[in-house]
Amino acid sequence: MTDRDLSRPDPDALLAEANKVGRGRLKVYLGMAPGVGKTSEMLTAAARRASEGAEVVVGLVETHGRSETAALLQGLDVLPRRVIEHRGRQLMEFDLDAALARRPQLLLVDEYAHSNAPGSRHPKRWQDVDELLSAGIDVWTTLNVQHLESLVDVVHRITGVLQRETVPDTALSSADEIELIDITPQELRDRLAQGKVYVPETASLAADRFFRAENLTALRELALRRAAETVDDQLVGVMRRQGLTGPWAAGERILVLIGADAMASSLVRNGRRISDMIGDAPWTVAHVERPSHPVLAPLAIDRRAEALRLAEQLGAATTILSGDDLVETVLDFARRQNVTQIVMGRPRPRALAARLRPSLPQALMEGSSGAALHVITDHGLAAADAPTRARLVLRRGWGGVGTAVLAVGAANGVASVVDQFSRGANLAMIFLVSVLVTGLGFGLWPALLAAALAAVTFNFFFLEPRLSMAIGNPADLFTFAVFFGVAVVTGGLAGRVRDQAAAAARRASAVTSLLVASRSLSAVANRQDAARTLAEQTAAAASGATVVLLPADGEVAVAAGAPSAPELDATAMTAARWAWERGEAAGAGTGTLPQIDWTFFPLQGLRARAGVAGVEAGRIQRGSEEERLLLALLGQGAVALERAELAAGAVEHETLRRSDQLRAALLNSISHDLRTPLSTVLGAATTLIDYGGSLARAVHDDLLLSIREEAERLNRYVGNLLDMTRLEGGGLKTRGEWTDVRDVIAGAIDRVARRAPDRRFTRDFPAELSAIMADPTLLEQAIVNILENAVAYSPAGEPIDVAAYEDRSNIVISIEDEGRGIPTAELERIFDKFRRLDAASDRGQGVGLGLSISKGFVEAMGGRIAAASPIHGDALTGFRGTRILISLPKQRATHPMLL
């Protein structure tokens, strides 16, 4: 291991351990064959645990009608089974949900490798067990070694029995404990003879073959070895966690090269065994795609996908490499990954010409430095490829066959015409053209067909002896050979060019869809948009319905769908939730709830899971090019969702920050504006107390006056704050009475003039003015606030002009000052709370509440308030003045004649 400092605990190992915390413990009773006594051993141990006080529940145990086993079940709590209807038959299955609801300390589930009845949540029981473990329940189970995925080939070779029920090796190696139930083969055969081993009646012949002594010995060895390996693994795990150096595969790394043929899966299993042999070395399964070669047939793609999936189940990393030079691509990858062992299949026998070049194993051997090469022979498996190829030709050929017939027919026509006019012309050339055309248009096989047809018809109609198949001149044979030669060359070439073009077109379209998707995804503003765009883009790529689910309140809920947001039934929602919680694909084509009509993929963002996307089942072949495009799209979508979420968070954060700022400014302002008058009151009072006797009479009186003024000022601030609180709290009640606005204005001017005796106020009222329904107290306060503002912001000598007039439906009050005016940009905001033109003025214009209170009061009475500035001056003399207009609605519009 070159990249790790072994003296420190390995983070991966610690992480694996951390993941186990809170997870239930798995114990597997491992045996070499049925009948060794796994179940009874498990039940005996469980009874012991139960007697010690542990809560033990039997989830499912097959007694196979044997009384000994049934006796062991006595006294143990057995969970009722679930009944599943399947094609009219009732199947008794393990009830996973009941077990999860029950949550015992220890649950017994027999037969780890069992396949569940169709319609269950998981297809396999080991997946049920995994869910139980995740829920924190300890599980004991039983397993025969022949059911291990990586041993299927070996067991098949040993016993001739092909196991259908398998568990992935990871399901065994993740066990916390393995107990090997070992008896000698002879003992087992004795038990079989005594009828102590359950064998289905129908299979007794096969069982006899299976239970042969030599088979059992081989299986026993497998079981012993596997148990030993697991013990090794656990030891290594312990040592890595504690940072001890140990005997595990130092720097070993295995690369398994697979093709898209029947041998692929077998190679993967071989890789796993080699990895096991050299101490659980990391291994990678790779397939090399050659862009210049024809795209793989669907069947081949399936095979490749299946092999890669198997590899992942067996714990390998998988990758698809791309490169025209097979040898160079593999060697490059091997060098980068420090591969020490390469596993590959023996190449098929090749054409003579190809044999002149070195075979792949030879080339790899020459090129690789230091890597060991394992070449695995097939067992006649490659033969299964033959029918595939034939079908391929036919499917592509129908158009070609037609063209071949037509082209050769046309050649016959042309040749007969030419033959009329110039006997002895080289008619063979015309037939050659028909072969060429077919070859260029439809590839090799149609071209060969055309060549054959051309040879036959040319010979029959145009070569002496005519209308006979006999060949008059041996040189004609050469002509026919040329036909076939041309067919092979042009057909082969054209076929390859066409396949390349198709592949290139497909890649281009994939890249284009990704580009389009990334463009539209990068433009989204929020999560909802991102979800909708993602649903649309994936629907286009999958050419089927899609749905995107986003988290909401700890759950996932449908956020968008294409062509429309679908209704998901309970099972589909369960699958979606599964994908969301586990981060694994669920639904059709996966190991979880495969019976539903959707496949759900988790949307894994850079930081967290962003949601779940569902694709209508059957649209996407797993492992296909389309799936890869889809996954790339989903990746982009997840990142876009995440980005939208972050952006939303940033906006929220900014809003919060601003309101914090506002609150701080408010507190500062209130504390200053309340304390300044208090300071004067307290300061003047204490001066009077301490030095009252020694002060001049005038000073004495002035101090008393200042106390009164400042107390009034304080009262106004408090009044303002209370008004504002009432406005904001909705506690403001307006009291309507018939009001003459002129009286109210006069009252307001009086109040303000008392505090600003030097200030001149001009009044401009009409002799007649309609009365309105209004609250005179509120209106007076609103006007006072505006007047005070005008006093504070205009030079002392300038008058403040107050006017009132009416139009048809409103009374308008106008208050103008000659101050420096308000910048246009500020105009809209002068009625905002805590808005002051001079940020840090301490001169006591109030907390910046006055105008906003005016606005609140006027609006509470159904009126409107607006400001205009500047109202006088020009660019030369400078702009001046502010005008504030209050407009209050009349009860009834006045007739124009009366105005």
């Binding site: 300061g683 204490t686 001066t687």
Partner: protein, 231 residues
């Protein structure tokens, strides 16, 4: 005290403050000088350095902290901060910037004048370079580095002595945590207020009659400590 009355410059933009402070200072035997802006205050200090400055932190033309920093560049006399900002950080910043003391608005005139007296007296003591300071029955000789309580020598660790000496040298003034830590432990420890608590506890145990309610070594909560000597 000289024949002329001590000149006290009041820098505050609030006319109401001058309105009572001017007669109060006058009645207490000082000569009040009024400045309404930071700039006017600074130019007054430069023209004719007053005996003490009372400075409001909230000024219309410039920040009070800036006035303080500028003034301290050429003015060494007592400087008392007047502020409605009751936030600790402002106070600490002002003291760190060289203010002698602070008074929060609203305030009684009596309190302000008492602080003013302490500040003026300490300045005078420092100018004379008085080597020995007493507080009740505690006597501190800064030259001989000897501390006595009720006539008996008190054993202080070097750190404890340095801390006490720093407080005594700035007697009457609030010395901020940062100033104390920097002076005694060095700039690297300027934030370790916990040290101070422990050492102040030791000093009080050794010097105060009742360490639980100290009379000489006073705490300014959240800001620092102050040594109060005999008036």
């Amino acid at each position: 005290m000289t024949a002329s009355r001590p000149r006290i410059l009041v820098i505050d933009d609030e006319p109401q403050i001058h309105r009572f402070l001017t007669p109060a200072l006058d009645a207490a035997g000082y000569e009040p000088v009024r400045a309404d802006t930071g700039a006017a205050g600074l130019s007054e200090i430069a023209k004719q350095p007053p005996d003490a400055v009372i400075l409001d932190l909230g000024l219309p033309d410039m920040d009070g902290q800036d006035v303080l920093r500028s003034a301290r560049a050429f003015y060494d006399g007592p400087l008392i901060i007047l502020s409605a900002r009751d936030r600790e950080l402002e106070k600490i910043k002002a003291l760190d910037n060289g203010a002698d003391d602070y008074v929060e608005k609203p305030f009684g005139v009596g309190e302000l004048l008492a602080r003013l007296r302490v500040a003026l007296r300490n300045r005078m003591v420092r100018d004379v370079g008085e080597p020995s300071v007493s507080a009740g029955d505690v006597e501190i000789d800064l030259v001989k580095r000897v501390v006595r309580k009720a006539g008996a020598p008190v054993r202080l660790s070097p750190r404890e002595y340095d801390l006490l000496a720093t407080l005594v040298e700035g007697r009457g003034r609030v010395i901020t945590h940062r100033q104390l830590l920097t002076a005694v432990w060095g700039p690297a420890n300027a934030d370790d207020v916990q040290y101070l608590r422990v050492f102040m506890g030791h000093l009080r145990q050794k010097l105060e009659d009742d360490p639980a309610s100290p009379r000489w070594l006073m705490t300014e909560p959240g800001v620092g400590y102050r040594f109060v000597g005999d008036v």
